[in-house]
């Protein structure tokens, strides 16, 4: 049973977690909360148990889960080190994430059946995106949160998944009308408006998020996912070009209309003009990356806590400072592997809709990691968004495990067809 499981893949991350946390605990000895230890033990048992159980049940190694374990172990290590007070919560979120993951994977037939309700999915996606605009609470400058009592949820994290499911179903169904009988419309060849209306709606929603909710990161992510999935399904460069034009125009308009957009761009272009004011976060993040160098200054030996919001959006900079370029590379490779397996899984599918879901989930992971990593390194203007599995936060963690579950289901599905 053990030979077939990928449990040996989990040993590295779990050992690293144990060593790192052990070192931290020795420092704070003996003032350690025993419930944290119990939770930690539960998380480790669930990690190993899930992999063994799934591998046994699917009769083959489950590839995606070990990568998520690796990334969440890094996330747990960084949270414990950056904001010890939130470590317990993060353990809970990982635990919930794994439970959700396992449940969804077990209920895979029902999950796949959901795809028959594509328009309901589309509507749900819109609702999830509109909710924060109507009832949202502003946290950290972005109005993309919903507060339910003491719990705050970021609906856009879940909206992302619904978007992938909806787009996959819609594009698979309407591939023919979207690629044949095209009409010329200025320079672009497009299908009649009624067929591309849902796509336009999604683009427009992304822009609304951008403008009203100030959630630039999610907007970019949604838009990116939509464009990539549309291209994958249709291969039409016209749609991509139209999307780019739309994006450029919308960006230009919001640049002219909204000061917060101008501020973001100004910070990106000239961070050293106001390094202690508006550009403080990015400049501090660059200091962290520069100080870390190739090897990093060592776990828990740096000062990444100078950076505001370091445990959520800027966790990548903290990794760069303490674990160095090597640690950062390992994390980026983690996402690249996730993406690689997702594309591999996509190509194995016998149904177009499954192909698109797998490719969409892979795109979402890599694009999200890219957007935030590029933002904190000043490669692109900064747009606040979480680093999947690593950033602190429940919505992000659970949503990431949900996407992972979709990929795992499809991996199983694809391998069954191939035999």
């Amino acid at each position: 049973m053990l030979e077939r499981s990928g449990v040996q893949l989990l040993l590295g991350p779990v050992l690293a977690l144990a060593c790192g946390l052990g070192a931290l605990m020795l420092r704070h000895w003996p003032g350690i909360d025993s419930t944290v230890l119990a939770l930690l033990a539960a998380v480790v048992v669930f990690m190993l148990g899930t992999e063994i159980f799934l591998s046994h049940r699917f009769r083959r190694t489950v590839k995606f889960f070990p990568i998520a374990v690796f990334l969440s172990c890094i996330g747990l290590l960084m949270t414990a080190r950056l904001v010890p007070a939130l470590f317990k919560m993060q353990l809970c979120w990982v635990l919930v994430g794994i439970v959700v993951f396992t449940s969804v994977v077990m209920a895979r037939k029902k999950v796949l059946a959901l795809l028959d309700y594509q328009y309901s999915l589309g509507a749900l996606c819109l609702i999830l995106l509109i909710l924060p605009l109507l009832f949202g609470t502003e946290i950290g400058g972005s109005r993309n949160w919903i507060a339910l009592g003491s719990i705050t949820i970021q609906p856009s994290e879940f909206g992302k998944i619904v978007l992938i499911l909806f787009l996959a179903a819609y594009l698979a169904d309407h591939r023919q009308v979207l690629t044949e009988n095209l009409r010329r419309f200025f320079l672009f060849e497009t299908a009649p408006l009624r067929f591309i209306a849902p796509l336009l709606l999604i683009w427009g929603m992304a822009m609304l998020m951008f403008v009203i909710a100030r959630d630039l990161g999610s907007a970019l992510l949604f838009f990116g996912i939509a464009v990539f999935m549309t291209y994958m399904a249709t291969g039409s460069k016209s749609y991509v070009a139209a999307a780019m034009l739309f994006f450029t125009a919308a960006s230009a308009v919001s640049y002219m209309l909204f000061s917060h957009v101008r501020v973001r761009v100004a910070i990106w272009l000239h961070p050293w003009q106001d390094p202690s004011g508006m550009a403080y976060q990015v400049v501090q993040s660059l200091f962290a990356i520069g100080t870390g160098g190739i090897w990093g200054v060592g776990y828990a030996h740096g000062n990444p806590d100078i950076i505001p919001a370091v445990h959520t959006d800027f966790v990548f900079s903290a990794i760069a400072e303490e674990l160095g370029f090597l640690g950062m590379t390992a994390v980026l490779l983690g996402y690249l592997f996730l993406f690689y397996y997702a594309i591999q899984t996509a190509l194995l599918q016998t149904r177009l809709v499954y192909t698109l879901i797998a490719a969409g989930c892979g795109t979402a992971f890599i694009l999200q990691a890219f957007i935030i990593a590029a933002g904190v390194t000043k490669f692109l203007p900064l747009t606040g968004i979480t680093l999947p599995f690593i950033s602190y936060g429940g919505s992000s963690m659970i949503a990431s495990f949900l996407m992972l579950a979709l990929l795992t289901i499809l991996e199983k599905e694809g391998n069954e067809r191939v035999g």
Binding site: L115, A169, A172, D173, R175, F228, Y231, M232, A233, T234, G235, P275, S276, V283, L286, F287, I289, G290, T291, G292, G293, I294, W295, G296, V297, G298, Y299, H301, G302, N303, I306, A320, G324, F325, M328, T329, L332, Y335, L336, F339, I343, A346, L347, Q349, T350, R351, L352, V353, T355, A359, G362, T363, I366, L367, A369, F370, A373, A374, T377, F379
Partner: protein, 467 residues
Amino acid sequence: MSGKPSDSIRKNILQAAWLLIGLVVCLFCYILYIECAEGQELTHHPLNSRGLREVSGVARGKILDSDGRVLAETDESGIRRYPYGAAAAPVTGYVGIEIGSAGVEHYSAMALSGRASADSHIGPVAQLFSDAEGCNVKLTVDAELQQAAYDALGDRKGAVVVLNAETGAVLAMASTPSFDPESAAENWEDISNREDSVLLNRALHGLYPPGSTIKPLVAAFALKGGNVNQKEIFDCSGVLDVGGGYTIAESHGEVHGKVTLREAITESCNVAFGTIASRMGKSGLESMFSAVSFNRALSGELDSPIAQLPDYSALSKGEIAQIGIGQSTLLVTPLAMAMLAEGFANNGKIMKPYIVDEVISSRGIVTSRAVPAAWSGSIPKTEAQIIDGYMEEVVREGTGTAAYVNGVRVTGKTGTAENSSGNDHAWFIGTAQVQGKKIAFAVLIENGGGGGIEAAPIARNLILQMM
């Protein structure tokens, strides 16, 4: 519901996948670039407060002079003490959570706070060697000489730089007016806004017209370039017409008569050097300044712009002649002039200046030691030797006799630089062979008057101090 994915869809997916992977690879290369090209700068950036943040329980290390005398230490009550106070402030700098840090306190912050240096390139392994006490940082500075330089400047504004001519080690770096680093945080409001800029380290950051102290350099490169030879005789009538209605005059209305290059230096003849610079032209001057790397700034432990060079393309004929006598738009730092002086005494070789000699752990282990390195620019060897001889005569019988010390070989060049801020700046640069050690120095007194009268005696004081 939907059909099978066709080959074209597989192709589209792979194309999109490669694009995404390409994006990540670009980001990856960009991060690698930041780490390699900007890592040092970011680590030591003045706003990077990492070195300031005390690790709990770590006592900040001492800053010591070359003989082990304490320049800065933290006492039992946690107060940072500076025994040499304002005299050594341009060297030690200051440190405070609210006010940030400067000088060695800033540059060596990591070592002083016991953290492994980011420069060690051994990464987390360095944490194994980190200690409950910070490292001590031993400088190349001689505290007595530093104090003497500060005292010699007195209440005049100015700067003194003394280098070990063979290694580039900074032996003294004084700048006045100065401030007491111990009370810097309390008096921050005052000292950071003072009109006489006490926080400005004039030795490194003060930019002044070099006046006649630039002449040895011009002479060396004019000789090398064949614009002049040692035998040529200039006829100094006291005034040189440089065209466009502009003239260059000798100071105090002197007339030197017939002079060779040697006499043009010892008597500091403006007419001769105006003529020579005109012959060298824009390109000659440009290649001269790049040959000594005055177009490069110094960063790291001693950060200095070195010089502010003229915009060559915009130079008029008159301005070209003016640059030959160290005026016009050419500005230099005292450090840069000390480096030039060093070149003449060192067969043309200029060393990269440095100030941190050793980092010593609390257990007494030297964890890093400075290795002298050549500066990227130099002066041609033969010409440097010739000019070195001329500069010796400046002190023996020329404008710099005030720096003469019996029994010591002293070379020098005076400068009296006109400027827009008032009275002339007094300069004296040179070298001396003291106690078997070759030193190079630059003395500058802002609006001090004549270099030979005001600045040269300070150099003499310092040489006597070292004996």
